[in-house]
Amino acid sequence: MESYTVHDYDVLVIGAGGAGLRAAIAAIEKGARVGVVTKSLLGKAHTVMAEGGMAAAMGNVRPEDNWKVHFRDTLKGGGMLNNWKMVENYTKEAPDRVRELEQWGAVFDRTPDGKINQRNFGGHSYPRLAHVGDRTGLELIRTLQDHAVKMGIHAHMETTIYRLLTDAGRVVGALGFNRQTGEFLVFRAKAVVLATGGLGRIYQITSNSWECTGDGFSLASMVGADLIDMEFIQFHPTGMVWPPSVMGILVTEGVRGEGGVLKNSEGKRFMFDNVPERYKGEFAETEEEAERWLQGDRSARRPPELLTRDVVARAIRKEVNEGRGSPHGGAYLDIASRRPADYIKKKLPSMYHQFMKLGNLDITKEPMEVGPTCHYVMGGVRVDPDTQATNVPGLYAAGEVAGGLHGANRLGGNSLSDLVVFGRRAGMAAAEYAAQQTGSLQVDEAQVRAYIAEALQPFNNPQGENPFALMKELRATMQKNAGIMREEGELKAQLEILANLKKRAWNTSVSGSRAYNPGWHTALDMRLMVEISEAVVLAALARKESRGGHARLDYPDPDPTFAKLNHIIRRNSDGTLSVVAEPLPEMPEEMRKVAEAKDLKELSEKVGA
C-alpha cells in the first residue's frame, strides 16, 4: 500500500505568494506552529511577476490623498459591488503594511525628500502606488521571504496540495505530494489558510504564471466553501501580442502611468472618445490638458489612458474590431515619443528588457503593440471582511483567491497591498482559531487512501487522453466562449463543453515515473481547472448586464437591479454548483457618502476627505 508522511501544524498556509507569506508571518507572531506549502520554490510564486506597484494612500506625493479617497476610488472602479467593509479595512491599513515592508528591508523608489515614492495608475485619483521601478512584486516577495526565513518559517517547496481534508464539517488539514519525488504528504492542521492565487491559466491568453490554475477556488468549493462573483475576470488592456509565443505577457500599466499613450492605426489617441458616463468630467478632454496634467499642473485633469482596466481593454477591443488595430491585432502603446530614452530605461527597465529580448523592439524608439490579456480574478472564496474566515470552520482565504474586495473590477496596484493587509488578518485569525482547538485532530485514513488512489489513477490508465491536449482545449474554449466579451449562446455552449471536459479530465493517461512529472501534474491540475471554469461560466450566465470585468454583448449596459447583487456560487449536496443572488451587505450612511461623492471636490467638502 502507498505510504505517506505526516506533518502536524497549528496553521497550514497553502501558497507562498505575497498573501501566503504574510499570513505565515502573522501566524508565527501569534505563536502558532506554521507550515507553508508551495507548488514552486520559495520566492518564485506568481507575485514575483507584479510590476507597477502597490496602492496605499500614504500621501507622500500628494498630501491630499487619504484612505477615504482610496475607498471611493476602489468602490467606483469596482462597480460598487465591493464588500465595503473589506474596502474600509484595506484602505485604512494599506499604508502601515507598506511601511512595515520598508522596515523589513524593502527598498522602494524615493521622493526627492527621501520618502517612499508613489506613481499614478488607472482609477486612482492621486499618485498612490509605492513601487520599485517595474519590479515591485519581486521586492515584495523577496522582503517577505527574507523576513519569513528570519522568523523560522517551515516551507515545503515544490509540493502540491491535491485535496483539503475534513472532519465533521471542518477543515483539519490537506493531502499533497512532493513534486520532486511524487511522495504523498498528509498535513494535519487546526486551521488552513488558502493563499493559492488566481486562475488565469484557464484562458489561452494570460499574463499569469503556470501556477495560476485556480486550485484554491476548487479546493475550497469542494469542501463546501462559498465562492462569490466568479464572473468578474479582469482582462488587462496591455499584454504583448507579438510574437505569438509571448502573447499575453504583461506590459505594465506603469507605462501609461509614466505618460505612455494609446493610439490606433490612424495615429489617433482613441481613449478621449471612450470615457464612460460615470467618469465624465474627471478626465482631460484634450491632449493639451492631458499633457499639462503630466507636467504637474494641478488644475488639469488626468489623461483618459488612465481610466480603469475594463474600460481601456474594451476600447482597444473596439478599435481592433472596427479595423483600426495594429498589424498583429492590438493597439499601439507609445512611450518612445513621450519620454527620453534614459528615463524610460530607469523607470521601466524590465519592459525595456522584455521587448528588446522577446520582441526585438526598442521601446525607447518605437511604440509597442498591445492587446487584452487575462490577468486577474476579482471573484473568489467568500470571506468574512475582518477575519478572512470562510463559511467552513477552520478554513481561511487571502489574496487573489479570496473574493469581495475588488467588486466587479480591480484597480491596478490594489492587489499587492490586498495581499499584505488580508494575508496578515487571515494569519492572525487562523492562529487564534487554532489556539482554541483542543484535542487531537482526526484525519480520516480512508479518505486519504481514496484520494491517493484517485491521484495515481492516470498512471494506470494507458488508454486515457493526453493531459496537455486536454488543457489546450479547455483554455482555447474558455477564451472563445467565456472571454472578454460574452453572450448567452456561447456561455451555454461552453457549459456543455465543460461537462464533456470534466469527464475526460478523469480519464487521462501519463507515463514515466512520479518524480517531477509534468504530464502527471497537468492531469491533476485539469481536474481542478474544469471545476472552477464551470463556476466562472455559471456566474457569467447569471449576470445579465455588463459591469466591470464582465461584459455581455447581449446585455451591453449596467443594470440597476444587478448593481445591488452579489453572486454566491454554492456546491449542492450532489456535487453540482448553483448560483444564488444575494443583496450586497448594507453600507452605513457615512460610508455611502464617501463612496458616492461625485468628485474629489464634493468628497472634501461633504465628508472632509
Binding site: S40, S209, P518
Partner: protein, 256 residues
C-alpha cells in the same frame, strides 16, 4: 516555419543521456517554448522548472549549447539552429530529473547571512542616490546562473566554505543598505569564504539582470573585509590595477 533538432538531457541523479527531439519552430519562439512543445507532444514526463515565462522568476535556468541562460528569454533566432541545439541542466547542482536541478543548497547557505537590521529609531528617510546601488542588487531573481558558473562551486565543489556570487550579492544588498547596522564581515571572511573568489567575473557575464556582481558587490565587500583582515587576491588586483578599478564610489564605501 522550420524544423529544429533538440538534444535534451534525460536522466536523474544517477546519470542520463541526451535524447533527440524535432520541433517545428515558429517566429519568436524561445527555448522554453520548444521544451514545452516536446512535453505536450512527445515526452509528457520531460521535467523542467519554469513559472513566469517572462524572465522574472528565475526558475528556468539551463545550459543551452553549453551557455548558461534563462530558457524563457533565449530566442531561437539568436542561436544557431542549423545544428542540433543541446539543452542540459545546470551542472553545479544535482539533477532531480532532466532539466530540473536541486537548488536547495542555495536556500540553506542563505541562512548564514544575518538578516536586515535597521538602526533603532530611524526616521526611514533615504534618498534615491543612496538606494540606487542597493536596488541594483535587489534586482536579483535568484536564477542561480551565477552560482552555476562560478568555478569555486562548479569545479571545486566548494559548497561548505563559500556562499557564491548570488549570496555575496545578497550580503552586499544588506551591507550597503543605508539604514542597516549589522556587521557581516566576519561571516564573509569565514563561512562566506569571500577569499575564494578570484574575480574571474564569469558570474557577472551570465547574470540576466545585468547586475555588476563583481565590480559593484564583491570587490567593495572584499575591500571592507581587507580593511579588517587581509585578502591576497584583492591585494594582487589592487597592485595590478590600483583601487580605482572597483565600483562607483559612494558615501558608504569602506575605504580610500
Amino acid at each position: 516555419m522550420s524544423t529544429v533538432t533538440f538534444k535534451v538531457f534525460r536522466g536523474d541523479r544517477s546519470g542520463g543521456e541526451l535524447k533527440d527531439y524535432t520541433v517545428e519552430v515558429q517566429e519568436g519562439m524561445v527555448v522554453l517554448d520548444a521544451i514545452h512543445q516536446i512535453q505536450a507532444e512527445q515526452a509528457p514526463d520531460l521535467a523542467c522548472r519554469w513559472n513566469c515565462k517572462a524572465g522574472k522568476c528565475g526558475s528556468c535556468g539551463a545550459e543551452v549549447n553549453g551557455k548558461p541562460t534563462l530558457m524563457c528569454m533565449t530566442r531561437l533566432d539568436t542561436i544557431d539552429t542549423s545544428k542540433p541545439v543541446t539543452v542540459r541542466p545546470m551542472k553545479t547542482f544535482p539533477v532531480i530529473r532532466d532539466l530540473a536541478t536541486d537548488v536547495k543548497w542555495n536556500y540553506e547557505a542563505n541562512k548564514k547571512i544575518k538578516p536586515f537590521t535597521p538602526a533603532p529609531n530611524t526616521d526611514w528617510i533615504m534618498y534615491q542616490e543612496d538606494v540606487d546601488r542597493v536596488q541594483e542588487f535587489r534586482k536579483c531573481i535568484e536564477c542561480f546562473l551565477c552560482q552555476n558558473v562560478c568555478h569555486v562551486l562548479r569545479e571545486h565543489d566548494e559548497k561548505t566554505g563559500f556562499i557564491g556570487p548570488r549570496l555575496l550579492v545578497r550580503t552586499a544588498s544588506l551591507e550597503m543598505h543605508p539604514l542597516d547596522v549589522e556587521n557581516r564581515l566576519d561571516m564573509l571572511k569565514n563561512e562566506g569564504g569571500i577569499g575564494y573568489c578570484n574575480i574571474t567575473k564569469c558570474c557577472t557575464e551570465v547574470c540576466p539582470e545585468h547586475i555588476h556582481i563583481t565590480d559593484n558587490a564583491i570587490i567593495p565587500l572584499k575591500e571592507r573585509v581587507v580593511d579588517e583582515y587581509y585578502d591576497p587576491v584583492l591585494g594582487f588586483f589592487r597592485r595590478l590595477f590600483g583601487s580605482k578599478k572597483r565600483a562607483e564610489p559612494s558615501g558608504q564605501a569602506a575605504d580610500d
